[in-house]
């Protein structure tokens, strides 16, 4: 919320003429500033307990935490507050479109809405700026750090070819922008996809699939009764469950094998094949995880860099060799209980020998 306000202020300061055209006079700008801050606040309101670990437990009518955010913003208490409180009254549908990216509610209805949406959740969005630094701080790691004040202070507006506005960075902030993307890359490769963190996600997901009604979160208001504490309570009620025991006793499954790039190049579907094979033999005593993420989305005109003195602008991807070279992060790992470790490892190696006869190493 706070960063959304600061980012918005930079747009006004660095591009006053374009900002006036997009957001209107001073009153209009104040209204859109409030909209940006509230959208930032509500952006992740639909998250399940333990955040992204539960993303796969949204099925059917509500297919993602974003869908749930839309539902929560448009109904009940939040909608009432939006319509009745604050300096400016707000439209819950507009906030839902901006905060949770719901295009089934309709495309952004104005240029201002499009810009604020990008400011919150785009590649340069304040959501990313916020979670990277917060996660880095909470985990006690040095990854995830980038020059936040520089980046926020260089945010500006520029125009697309058709005259519509888009977010950009002043040229002086380019390396802070690169810093954000590389910080994201390192957070994924070193923290979010760390083997131990990854296997705890898998334990939690399997436990909840087996214990939630129909293996998914409810799509009605009872969803709000689900929080981390209730999930822990559910685990304590079934301590014999292999995944509950792994989490409660901190005896998570151990990494037995990690596939190499060379092996995955020979057959990118190895994870599915491994899963099928091990489900047959070991049931729930083995976990196969395939985790991947790209730090940069390679979309058209995602991050434009504007050099005002030279009157030049270009996509950051064209200006930064570092970002061009940044391939997505992918880890395919097999985990098992300590007791099964040796047997599983032997079987994985036999399996890989059979399916990737040319071997392969990670640097291939």
């Amino acid at each position: 919320m706070e960063l959304a306000g600061r980012g918005f202020d930079s747009l006004i300061r660095n591009s006053p003429d374009e900002a006036r055209r997009v957001f209107g006079d001073e009153d209009g700008q104040r209204r859109w500033r409030q909209t940006a801050r509230v959208s930032g606040l509500l952006h992740d309101v639909g998250h399940a307990p333990f955040s992204h670990a539960g993303d796969d437990l949204f099925v059917g009518e509500v297919r993602s935490h974003e869908d749930m955010s839309v539902r929560l913003i448009r109904s009940g208490e939040i909608a009432t507050i939006l319509q009745s409180e604050g300096t400016f009254r707000m439209d819950p549908d507009e906030i839902a479109r901006i905060a949770a990216g719901d295009f089934e509610l309709g495309a952004p209805q104005s240029e201002a809405e499009l810009v604020v949406k990008e400011l919150i959740a785009g590649d340069l969005g304040v959501d990313r700026m916020d979670y990277l630094r917060r996660d880095s701080h909470m985990c006690g790691v040095a990854y995830g750090i980038f020059d936040l004040p520089r980046l926020v202070s260089t945010l500006m507006l520029t125009k697309r070819e058709d005259g519509s506005p888009r977010l950009a960075i002043e040229s002086g902030g380019m390396h802070a922008g690169e810093g954000l993307i590389t910080a994201r890359y390192f957070m994924f490769s070193q923290v979010y996809f760390h083997a131990v963190r990854d296997v705890y996600d898998a334990h939690l997901l399997r436990f909840l699939r087996g214990h939630l009604e129909e293996g998914r979160y409810p799509s009605d208001e009872t969803y709000l009764e689900w929080d981390d504490i209730r999930v822990f309570g559910l685990m304590r009620g079934d301590r014999e469950d292999v995944d509950a025991a792994a989490i409660l006793n901190r005896k998570h499954f151990r990494r037995v094998e990690e596939l190499t790039i060379g092996q995955l190049r020979q057959d990118p579907d190895l994870p599915q094949k491994l899963t099928a094979r091990f489900n047959e033999t070991f049931g729930n005593r083995v976990i196969v995880r395939d985790s991947n993420k790209s730090a940069v989305s390679m979309q058209a005109d995602q991050i434009m860099i504007v050099d005002r003195k030279l009157e030049r602008e270009d996509d950051i991807l064209n200006l930064s060799g570092t970002l061009q070279a940044l391939t997505p992060v992918r880890f395919v790992r097999v985990f098992s209980s300590v007791e099964d470790k040796e047997g599983v490892r032997e079987m994985v190696r036999e399996f890989l020998q059979e399916h990737t006869p040319h071997g392969g190493n990670r640097d291939e």
Partner: protein, 178 residues
């Protein structure tokens, strides 16, 4: 056919049909082909900035990129990136992928048509299909206009007409050699 192989085949097919293979084109080609062609391993789509979009396809493109089977080449003019699939993997996907020759021919024909369209036109085409598949053919134009106010009525009408032609062409290829 695995999902990875299907995505690789879509990239290869688009690449053979057109100069450019950006992400939007890959998503839209697979959206229509899966909708009309009864292809194996279909993906889940939801409406996004430029029409139907699948997170699963994106994840598969990234996982292929991570192991070097797909590369992304930034467009020098600043319009995103073009995706290229490893030649050997594309061949394997085609040979062992499990698509019938009719399905392959229909996919190629569709890629030929979609490859030369602008993102805006693809957005109009696939949003019309998305709306029609959800609510039937009644008042599609109005619903698309509500979702995509930047599209003109003429663009939406033209998109619907072309969509019908594309579907006919696709279905006739599917049945032609059977």
């Amino acid at each position: 056919m695995s999902s990875h192989a299907l995505v690789a085949l879509a990239i290869e097919t688009l690449g053979a049909a057109s100069q450019r293979t950006p992400r939007t084109h890959i998503h839209k080609l697979l959206y229509l082909a899966e909708k009309w062609g009864n292809l194996p391993s279909p993906h889940q789509f939801s409406l996004y900035l430029h029409g139907p979009y699948s997170r699963e396809i994106d994840a598969e493109i990234q996982s292929l990129r991570a192991v070097g089977l797909v590369t992304a080449v930034p467009d020098p003019a600043g319009f995103g990136a073009d995706y290229k699939v490893d030649v050997e993997y594309a061949k394997r996907a085609e040979q062992n992928g499990g698509l019938t020759s009719q399905q392959l021919s229909a996919l190629r024909g569709l890629a030929q048509e979609l490859g030369r369209q602008t993102v805006r036109h693809l957005e109009a085409l696939t949003t019309c299909e998305f709306v029609e598949s959800k609510q039937g053919s009644d008042s599609v134009e109005g619903a698309v206009k509500r979702l995509k106010p930047h599209l003109s009525n003429e663009e939406i009408v033209a998109a619907r007409k072309q969509l019908a032609c594309l579907r006919d062409g696709f279905e006739s290829r599917l049945s032609r050699s059977s």
